[in-house]
């Protein structure tokens, strides 16, 4: 209603203005009539008297304008006038208008999208009461993750938090009685919802009081989305029993609609108490102080009056105490509290998004530089019009105001278009599920903040490129311009435009350089050596615990699965790895390793921490991990045999000095077990593609069973057919076992996801930068040619060669391109140092990248100057000289 009122008020003012204008007109006419009456009385004819009276009165329009201003507050009326005038002017040069609006729309759109993502991922606080006061704790040597006993100690010993909650992720089979299916949820501490201070949508939450020791709280709270999709909004679900991995759990309630856990991009299906996690997933996650994978993050509200510095000191004091008390299992590095939901990622996500925002900002700056030089060129072309208006009595302020209105109009048009595009794109992004099996999405929802940012950016950039021609207008001397024509202008303004162009080209070259570096890095990492061969291999993922297998039954079932796969025609090798294969999400389990003679088995005394894989006989062969020396496992390496391991080259070198030395030697695990090395394999990549060579050990899965398995099936058969054959074999074995079959390359996609995203984003930004540069250089070259047409014609008439004409017409734009590109290349190479953190093997010292940038920029220059060059060469001196 307010809006309507405001519009009505404005319209009324406008109408009043027009009445005022009419009144003013009448008053001035009355003056002239009175004067004419006097003149008539002195003997002039009526028509002569009227003419004379008008002349004596002076510049009527100018005075009217001044009267308007004197009458005060004519802002709106003038604005309206300016707007109509601008629209008329822009309609006369649609090419310019469209180019300007599109350029800006692209830049604003890019910024709005990046901001939208940043807003959703980082800026927007959790949708709970007093979210600004919630902090996550970092702990120990790894960011985020901590062990359950450490969490309990921190919860009970700190004096800073008003309750400390913890959560991690739980992947389970959820059975409502008819159709078991995989679900992902949070395993949360009992006080989780109380610490967040939220109320359930339906039923009740679990509380700290529900926890009375291990496996004491078989409750589950559904997320609203899962309740909606799986239970069809059935309000009677409260109190019903469902089975998580075959264990009965009671549904307590449904979480509020707007709450989806405490990690921005995760959308869990349910919440269960952490104390019941062992029951569901097996293992002894909750007892082992050294196992840091139990808690993803712990967080809480700071108590009133506790400062961040006090809380930091408090948490670090607890850390030191724990290190002193449990030296064997825990070593503490001083850490800081950080934003809830981000602790586990360190600064990587924030840094990446900030970098992206910076690049998008540069695009916008480049667009502004581009538009600024366009506007300056336009003002020069219109200098005759402007001079005429000045001569006719228009004030400079009024002309500037009108030019600025034009800039703002284009800015708003571009901003609106860019915003529309970005909102559409953000909506697409918000439904996009980048990781197939996990309920993770980009939490982007274009809201008021995105609109405001886009609007502010549009206005700011409009101001930026709108003020470029101001000095030009202020210095305009109508007399000179009208007398000599626009060409008589000094060349000072060109330098400002040139600077803008160089800046813009440099920015573009930075973007092109970094996107090329990223693309090269990605290409190289896709064809790098992982220490296994992901191509022509299928992965079958199953969780035996979900299907109710006991620890004793598992080895036999695994053997049956391997045997069954081997009977499929076309299958070359089959192997099995417990937990996760290398480079899959979650494969970051490391175990401490000690020299054989070590007696002090404290965490801080470990010789190294090696990636730890449990594999079956045949896995190394199926994964194409080559054995350097020794043997791989066989079916005799089971529970009754002494513990054995296959280690990688890095491990062998660091513990035993060399590969040749390792076989037959022993090392110790933290629990004191002596393990004999039976073979050495090549190094590989285990957690991320940009890691340095890391030690890894492969232990026999027959000696320590676990429930979650990945079968590696190597075959050159078509993946679709192979998957179907594998699925039917699994059904024959156990129809109740949930399996997930995909290619190994697909699983790797997750590891490559950050670098893929980075490459994609940089590629898009680089492309936009390139487009901006083309239009910028094109504008400059075309303008330079059109202004020097006459000179070129004379040169040609005097016998200049084509080369000389081209040199005269395009020399400067090309020189600018050269300067800009060199500067940009240099900056770009510096910027790639940052990039190397995200994209594996992104190195600026790559001749191909250098060549690529040079070629790209030359191509840009060629494309951009082609048409102006043609125009310069087609100058017909006769026609030109005749025209002028």
């Amino acid at each position: 209603m307010k809006l309507v009122d405001s519009i009505r008020f404005r319209l009324a003012t406008l109408l009043q203005r027009s009445r005022l204008r009419a009144e003013m007109e009448e008053e001035l006419r009355s003056h002239i009539d009175h004067r004419a009456d006097d003149l008539e009385r002195s003997g002039l004819s009526r028509s002569d008297a009227e003419r004379r009276a008008r002349i004596e009165f002076g510049a009527r329009e100018k005075f009217k304008e001044e009267c308007h201003e004197a009458a005060g507050g004519i802002f709106l009326a003038t604005l309206w006038q300016d707007l109509r005038f601008c629209l008329r002017v822009l309609r006369k040069s649609p090419g310019f208008a469209i180019a300007a609006v599109l350029t800006l729309a692209l830049a604003i759109g890019a910024n709005a999208v990046v901001f939208g993502i940043m807003d959703g991922m980082i800026l927007r606080p959790l949708n709970v009461p007093q979210a600004g006061n919630i902090y996550g704790t970092q702990y120990g040597s790894n960011p985020g993750w901590q062990s359950y006993p450490n969490y309990l100690d921190l919860r009970d010993r700190n004096h800073s938090f008003d309750g400390l909650a913890a959560f991690s992720f739980a992947f389970v089979g959820l059975d409502t009685g008819k159709n078991p299916s995989a679900a992902t949820g949070y395993a949360a501490s009992g006080n989780y919802f109380d610490v967040l201070r939220i109320q359930p949508y339906l039923g009740r939450f679990f509380h700290g009081a529900d926890e009375r020791g291990l496996n004491s709280a078989p409750y589950v709270v559904l997320s609203y989305a899962y309740w909606h999709s799986r239970f069809q909004d059935d309000r009677n679900v409260v109190g019903r029993t469902v089975f998580l991995n075959k264990h009965p759990f009671t549904i307590l309630g449904v979480a509020p609609r707007e709450f989806h856990g405490t990690v921005a991009f995760a959308f869990p299906d349910f919440f269960m108490p952490m104390v019941n996690e062992e029951q569901v997933n097996g293992g002894n996650l909750l007892h082992d102080r050294g196992s840091i994978t139990a808690v993803f993050e712990s967080f809480g509200h700071l108590k009133p009056g506790v400062t961040l510095a006090q809380a930091n000191a408090d948490v670090n004091a607890v850390g030191k105490y724990l290190e002193a008390t449990y030296p064997q299992d825990f070593s503490h590095k001083p850490t800081l509290l950080s934003r809830q939901g981000m602790t586990a990622f360190g600064g990587a996500v924030t840094a990446f998004l900030a970098g992206l925002m910076l690049l998008a900002g540069m695009i916008l700056l480049a667009a502004c530089a581009n538009l600024g030089s366009l506007f300056a060129a336009r003002a020069t072309d219109r200098s005759r019009e402007i001079a005429l208006r000045l001569a006719l009595g228009s004030s400079r302020r009024r002309i500037l105001r009108q030019l600025l209105t034009e800039a703002l109009l284009i800015a708003l048009g571009g901003g609106a278009l860019g915003l529309l595009g970005s909102v559409a794109l953000l909506h697409r992004l918000s439904t996009w599920q980048p990781i197939a099996e996990a309920p993770a999405r980009l939490p982007v929802a274009p809201d008021g903040r995105v609109y405001v940012v886009a609007l502010v950016l549009a206005l700011l950039s409009g101001m930026l490129f709108g003020i470029v021609p101001i000095r030009q207008v202020m210095r305009a001397n109508p007399y000179e311009v009208v007398k000599a024509g626009a060409n008589a202008r000094g060349s000072r303004w060109i330098t400002v435009r040139e600077v803008l162009l160089v800046v813009q080209i440099a920015i573009c070259a930075v973007l092109v350089t970094s996107s090329l570096v990223a693309v090269r890095g990605l290409a190289r990492s896709l064809h790098g050596n992982f220490g296994f061969e992901p191509r022509n291999a299928m992965l079958l993922h199953a969780n035996l615990a979900m299907a109710g297998y006991s620890d004793d039954q598992m080895p036999a079932m695994k053997r049956r699965m391997i045997d069954a796969m081997e009977t499929i025609p076309g299958v070359e090798q089959v192997g099995l790895v417990d937990g996760y294969p290398p480079l899959a999400y979650g494969s970051n389990f490391r175990a401490n390793v000690y020299q054989e003679e070590a007696t002090d088995l404290r965490q801080s005394k470990a010789a190294l921490a090696a990636y730890d894989y449990l594999i079956s006989p045949g896995y190394l062969e199926a994964a194409h991990t080559s054995l350097l020396t020794g043997r791989s496992f066989n079916w005799q390496d089971d529970k009754d045999a002494p513990p054995v391991a296959v280690v990688n080259r890095e491990f062998a070198v660091r513990i035993f000095g060399s590969v040749g030395n390792a076989v037959g030697r022993h090392y110790k695990r933290q629990d004191g077990t002596r393990v004999q090395v039976v073979g050495v394999v090549e190094d590989g990549k285990y957690m991320s593609l940009n890691e340095d060579p890391q030690p890894a050990m492969f232990l026999s899965g027959l000696q320590s069973p676990s429930s979650a398995v990945y079968l590696v099936v190597r075959s050159k058969r078509d993946p679709e057919q192979l998957a179907a054959a594998m699925r039917s074999k699994m059904r024959e074995l156990d129809a109740g076992l949930l399996t997930d079959i995909t290619t190994w390359t697909n699983v790797l996609a997750l590891v490559l996801f950050p670098s893929r995203m980075a490459t994609m984003a940089l590629g898009v930004l680089g492309l936009m930068g390139a487009m901006l540069s083309i239009t910028g250089i094109f504008g400059m070259a075309a303008y330079s040619v059109s202004r020097r047409m006459r000179e070129l014609g004379i040169r040609m008439a005097l016998g200049a060669q084509r080369r000389e004409v081209l040199g005269a017409a395009l020399g400067r734009p090309l020189k600018l391109l050269l300067i800009g590109s060199s500067a940009g290349l240099l900056l770009g190479l510096l910027a790639t140092r940052v990039l190397a953190f995200i994209v594996y093997q992104a190195t600026p010292r790559d001749p191909l990248v250098l060549a690529g940038v040079v070629v790209a920029m030359s191509l840009l220059g060629l494309v951009a100057t082609w048409i102006p060059a043609q125009r310069a060469l087609s100058v017909n001196p006769l026609n030109l000289l005749r025209e002028e």
Binding site: E27, S30, H31, H34, R35, G58, K62, C67, A70, A71
Partner: protein, 113 residues
Amino acid sequence: MSDQAQLLPGTLDLLILRAVSLGPLHGYGILLRIGQISGNALLIEQGALYPGLFRLARQGLLQASWGTSENNRRAKFYELTVAGRKRLREETDSWNRLAAAIAAALSPQAEEI
């Protein structure tokens, strides 16, 4: 023409106030009155009068109403408001002080003779 003096900036407003202090006048009438009281010694561009009128009206020193002129034409008549009369008094005083000071400064001094 050449024996007419250019107006000092800001003095037009004062002249307008003075002109209408003797009774309501329309724009052209004000112009004639200024000519009359200044002995036609001042050069005023006719149109330049109006921005001044609008400015004074907005400041509340003048108030305007439509009426019929002696030529039987519709015209807008201006007259002083109370605030306008007060302003005229103040401005006149300050002008007189200024004029006296400038005149004293410019008059031949004893040392010069």
